[in-house]
């Protein structure tokens, strides 16, 4: 029990330090530790070859443009969503979560259906007497990355908008502040706080891009470091090269994350209860037109690829009879188990870490160090973690027999940065708003947690765990390395079906997989939002 005259927030609570520290150590062991394991297993040292340098160059260029385009397009979209109330707005906000949850193997099919050489856009161009598009290479990679990350950046900015105390919009309206002045006074500070973080997050995600770069890059001329790591580790068994590339990837992403942390303004937090925010600005015709355009373009860009996959997926459901059907449902069960296990592990990793980051608020350097540690999975290669686990476990156990738990573990590690990123500001805000009151009441331990955090954490936790569950359900990467075709997860089965010419069943499986990922996300998100 803390003494009244010594505020608890000054000292780091023991419980937070212990649990947060343990989570951090486990995460660092999985990420940095695995690079060390692979490097130790490697037999000879060497330098980067010309193809490695090209992979580095392509990685940086595509990640920069993916992040820049996603963040730039997110500004008008978030602005429109924040100030408009229209039927279907809630559905649209939920749809914004869709691409990010979509298993990349499926999103690639959708992007090709719309932007491919025989896709809808090419057909329209042909009808207009123009040439077909060639989606492979940088254009395809950017389209797919923006498809995935524009909604993420938008949601991050919407959170920043939501963090603006509603009273300020009313005061601004009462004072007649509109348009550019309002943007400069209220909106820009919120965007300014969220944009660098969004940019860096998208940059880091795209810098480690694997499936998209592999499928849409069009070969070695558009190879990312992650693809090169996969080739070195899982294909050529060149562990030296894998370790070298993993170190380079770490450096690139760590630099991006540090830059973002340095750039990010302190959260634009204010005291206030979060009710549905009413807005009075943006009533002019030009503002309405701009918002309508931003919303319409975003809906088209995001919904068309989804429609493309759904159309073939529904048709493919008919192929899910007999053996193929039984296999798909069994695989769906395994994917569900992996996803739920991974979600639990994510919660166990992310909550203590987020609490640690938030509790270190008074020590900015330590807080940033802890946050950087929590973000290491963004810079880590799942394949390097996979190979390291393989090398470490091989002498004591059969990694293939542990394929599902290992996949859940690696997926949880990969989801933890997102969860921490979502949870830490919520904990920090709750602490800032109610922490002193709780301290003055002498609350501590679980009572204090319940009073200060539970209500405020419910929604972000639901969102974060929904993300973790969906990401895990759709992940193909690590399971492919441990590879148990006799007991595949749904993404692996879909890959196998597609690889064995059973395209209809593969699209049917894609449909089931999409449904599973979305259902998991919606389930957790709704639990969090109390609906």
């Amino acid at each position: 029990m803390a003494r009244r005259d010594e505020p608890v927030t000054e000292a780091l609570p023991r419980r937070v330090a212990l649990t947060g520290g343990a989570a951090l150590v486990l995460l660092l062991a999985l990420t940095l530790g695995s690079v060390a394991v692979v490097a130790l297993r490697a037999e000879r040292a060497g330098a980067l070859g010309p193809a490695d340098w090209r992979a580095l160059s392509f990685t940086l260029r595509q990640a920069f443009w993916s992040a820049a385009l996603s963040t730039a397009f997110a500004i008008p979209l978030a602005r429109a969503l924040a100030r408009r109330r229209f039927p279907g707005r809630a559905a649209l906000t939920t749809l914004l979560g869709a691409p990010f949850l979509l298993p990349s193997i499926i999103a690639i099919l959708g992007v090709i259906a719309v932007w491919g050489r025989s896709g809808w856009v090419s057909e329209a161009l042909m009808a207009a007497g123009l040439a077909r598009l060639n989606v492979y290479g940088m254009p395809g990679v950017l389209i797919a990355h923006v498809f995935f990350n524009l909604p993420l950046a938008t949601r991050l900015m919407l959170q920043a908008y939501a963090a603006v105390p509603p009273e300020r919009w009313r005061i601004a309206a009462q004072l007649g502040v509109e348009g550019r002045a309002l943007f400069r006074l209220l909106e820009w500070p919120a965007i300014r706080a969220a944009a660098p973080g969004a940019f860096a997050l998208v940059f880091s995600i795209c810098a480690t891009s694997f499936a998209i770069a592999l499928a849409l890059g069009g070969g070695p001329r558009a190879t990312t470091l992650e693809v090169a790591i996969y080739e070195a580790a899982a294909v050529s068994f060149d562990l030296d090269r894998a370790a070298r590339l993993a170190a380079v990837q770490f450096a690139v992403c760590a630099a991006a994350a540090l830059a973002a942390l340095a750039l990010a303004a302190p959260p634009a937090a204010g005291f206030g209860v979060r009710l549905c925010v009413e807005r009075w600005d943006g009533r002019g015709r030009a503002a309405r037109a701009a918002d309508a355009l931003a919303l319409a373009l975003a809906i088209l860009f995001l919904a068309l690829p989804l429609a493309g996959v759904a159309a073939r997926g529904v048709a493919g459901l008919g192929a899910l009879t007999g053996a193929a059907g039984a296999a798909v449902w069994a695989a769906a069960g395994r994917s569900l188990a992996v996803a739920l296990g991974s979600t639990l592990l994510t919660a166990l990793l992310a909550l203590p870490l987020a609490a640690l980051v938030a509790a270190l608020d008074r020590r900015p350097f330590a807080a940033r160090l802890a946050e950087a540690g929590a973000l290491t999975p963004l810079a880590a290669s799942p394949f390097v973690i996979g190979v390291a686990l393989f090398v470490v476990l091989r002498p004591v156990a059969d990694p293939a027999a542990l394929a599902l738990p290992l996949t859940a573990l690696v997926n949880a590690a990969m989801a933890t940065p997102f969860a921490v990123r979502i949870l830490a500001p919520a904990i920090r805000d709750a602490e800032a708003d109610h922490g002193r009151l709780a301290d003055s009441l002498g609350l501590s331990g679980w009572t204090r947690t319940r009073a200060v955090h539970v209500g405020r954490l419910r929604a972000p936790l639901g969102f974060a765990l929904g993300l973790a569950a969906a990401l895990s359900a759709g992940d193909l990467g690590v399971i492919a390395l441990f590879s148990r075709p006799d007991a595949p997860t749904l993404p692996l089965l879909m890959h196998l079906l597609a690889g064995s010419r059973n395209v209809d069943a593969a699209f049917g499986a894609a449909f089931v997989l999409t449904g599973l990922a979305f259902a998991l996300f919606l389930g957790f998100d709704r639990l969090g939002r109390g609906r």
């Binding site: 050489r117 060639n134 890059g217 294909v235 193929a324 690889g499 010419r501």
Partner: protein, 331 residues
Amino acid sequence: MKTLLPALALLATAAAADDRPTLTVYTYDSFVTDYGPGPVIRERFEAVCGCTLNLVGAGDGAQLLGRLQLEGARTQADVILGLDTNLTAAAAATGLLAEHGLPVPDAIAVPGGWDDPFFLPYDWGWFAFVYDETRLPEPPTSFAALLDAPEDVTIVIQDPRTSTPGLGLMMWVKHVHGEEAGAVWERLAPRVVTVTRGWWEAYSAFLDGEAMMALSYTTSPAYHAHVEGDETKRAAIFEEGHYLQIETAAITAASQNPDLARDFLAFMLTEPFQSAIPTTNWMYPAVRFDGAEPAAFEALAIPPSSRLFPAEEAPAVREAALAEWLDVMSR
């Protein structure tokens, strides 16, 4: 109840299988799926071996070697099935394989015959670009013609590091063009729409209209004719001759069941295994048995000549050609 019954049946077989030895075979993914040769081979081998056959997909064909190296002497695999002659010598050099000690059947129908202490072949085919005659009425008739073809004659190929067809094309270009191979790739690169990881991704991209031709096999049109009744898919026959793929299997040195593994390799060259190959793997069987090949195989185009680097030369050629290929294709 309907879903419960197969589950119960599965439990029953699992319980019955407990006292039987298990033979683990690592192969490429598409071999083990319900639509590949896997299920029928498993059923037919288990009927005679008194064992459980565990077929494990370890990625695309060229990844099998990496998987074997990754697991080393602790591998669970008794047999590695799916390496072709471009990779067999490199695999043998790891020291992770055991000699099979089996005679090669007199009826072996692999071009050039067979003699290898570690590997036995189970099927073979010629690599070829497959096109749709309704979209490409005048396909190129040689590499030279392909290089000079209009630029809308696009191709989709596989990565030689992951896929054995991709590796086969790289070796084919090297065999035909030798020192000029790098320059040939420079001229080919603009018409390569994409380089995929596995055979199917490339072939499905072609079927979806993403490219005019896909690197596949001269036998691929037989699938469309036999299964879909579609006669429009054809293999472009090149005057320079076509590179061969001979797919093989070998026993691992770490195998706990070397006798059973040897039985499997012997079984591999008998009728129950070989007759399943043409209509599940869509390749020519290593030993031909009457009636195994559907009529569609009769109609297939035959290349004027075959090309192949001897297995023992392949590792050095592959290493040099891969460096050259990567350099050109990553620009």
